[in-house]
Amino acid sequence: MPHKTFFWFFFPSGLAMLLFIGLPIISSFFQSLHIEPEQILMEVEKCDPFGCKTETKVDIEATTKLQEEQPLGRFNGLGTYGDRNHLAFEEIKEAWRNSSSMSEFIDILLNLPFYKALLFTLTFCFAVTPPVVVLGFIVALSINTLTKSLKGPTIFGVILPMIVTPLIGSLVLFWMIDAKGILGATIQYLFDDPNLSLKSSSQLTWITLIIYGIWHNTPFAFVVFYAALQTVPQDPIEAAIIDGASRYERVRHIVIPHLYPVATFIILICLMDNFRVLEPIIGFAAEGVAQSLSWMIYNDLRSENKMLFGSAGATSMLTIIGVAFLLTPVLIRTWREFRTER
């Protein structure tokens, strides 16, 4: 295809991506270099019968004027990245100097907003992914043995948790684990503790969120494994049967090696998708104890009158760096695939 034809075919799609994915990243970076303007204070002398006092007041007129002149705020360089809500260099230095033991230092570190969110995001990613892969594989194996007429409806049932949007999915579960809902009440009954609530402690909330993550992500792993199972070559399996291999041995030595590449694909996609976890935190109303990087950005942008563009931009940039780490293996894999295709 000549360059010119290619250009016109690809132009609309490319333009859309450039304008609404490429530019926002740059715009986000630009925002992160700025900080909201400070309010201009002025001294007013107030006199009443008992004498005169000077008061400092916000000069609304000047502040508005400044805001109009510099809507993005003043230039702050990389200052926002180092402040308390992001990488917190000062605080870390101080904690390093003042803390007597390593555990105390780590304690202080993990109470800083950014590191707290990073810890949750990574915990969520790495706690959800392995069970998803294992469960997805087991579900795929067992559904594969069903008769054909049962397969369709079963698959439909199994993929439901993946289809609904995470917010709705987490709400549905949240209502059930409520202390007054069916699961919450059952758990209280089982542990014989009428005050037990999954919302009561941060550990329990984290576990609930992780269980939700597994529930939501397993169907994806299942679908991919299930499709891959259809491509397992039959000849080696038949040969293994003749040689007297048990069912377990056949799965262990023929099916699983065949599925390794698929498993890495699932792991990578799962890690990348869960790195942006946001909706479950809102659905489970877990903002108090579990914040993710995405949630920090969401929180900065939520209030309509005072959005913290600078702070949100800086967190976005740091999140993108995190995504880049997770993305590198995917890119290398795609690169190799292309090499072999040509």
Partner: protein, 293 residues
Amino acid sequence: MESKINRYSKQLILINSLFIILWLVVSVFPFIWTFWGSFKVKADFFSRADWMFAVTGVNTLIETGDTSTVKAYVESWTEGEFWKATLNTIIITVSVVTISLFLGTLGAYALSRSTYKYTFWILIAALIFRAMPHITLVSGYLFPFFQLNVWGILPTTIIVLVAINQPFTLWLLYSFFKTVPKELDESALIDGCSYFQAFRYVIMPVMWPGVITAGLFSMMLAYNDFTVTSLLLNQQNYTMVPKINAYLGTIEHSGNYMWAVSSVVSATAPLFMIIMFFQRQLISGLTAGAVKG
């Protein structure tokens, strides 16, 4: 394959069936529970006394005179203006699917037929774009959109969702067009068609399976989106998902918690219907690119 050795033993069949039934319950039961509960009053759905009330509807009987009620549905659709959210969702979903398929088929066709090296780099760039968390993009949109005064309206959100959707659509349709034999449109070119004519008269009639799959994913993205719609639309233009979140958040609706429950059912039901019809396409799309290994 139906050799005697490979038959499943009775124990295995039993364990297997039990496991599948258990897993089906885990996946499906929460939805059935919510569906059933949405016809009850709040005192039953969140019952302090006994969770069985949610099944039998004791308080619902006391409050409304029947064991199930559609009060929450009627109120959320009228008073809660859920009809408006539904309308907005329909407008956004239909526009996003149409536009992103239009752009996507053209772009992906070009990518699949060009032999130059830059197609590779474009596809890699699309992959990187696809991995960007949506919230980081939104943080980049808000400020310029406020300055340009286009924040809060439906068209902006539609364009943004189309763009966010492009990388995935491109990849999906690219791998689909790769399976369409090149000779098909090449012969049309030899017969004197332009590239566009070849696309219009030769490729378009055979591309529908791929387009349906890509359309299904665009639909799910637009229909399910929360991050973009909740931050880029103003309250009056909310779609279903942010609307449900709004029901939960505000104090004025706190007495109407059941609005959220019934709206969850209203929003989920059509989606499940569509997936029931297009399950095969959904699965083929999810596995595109994965299975090749």
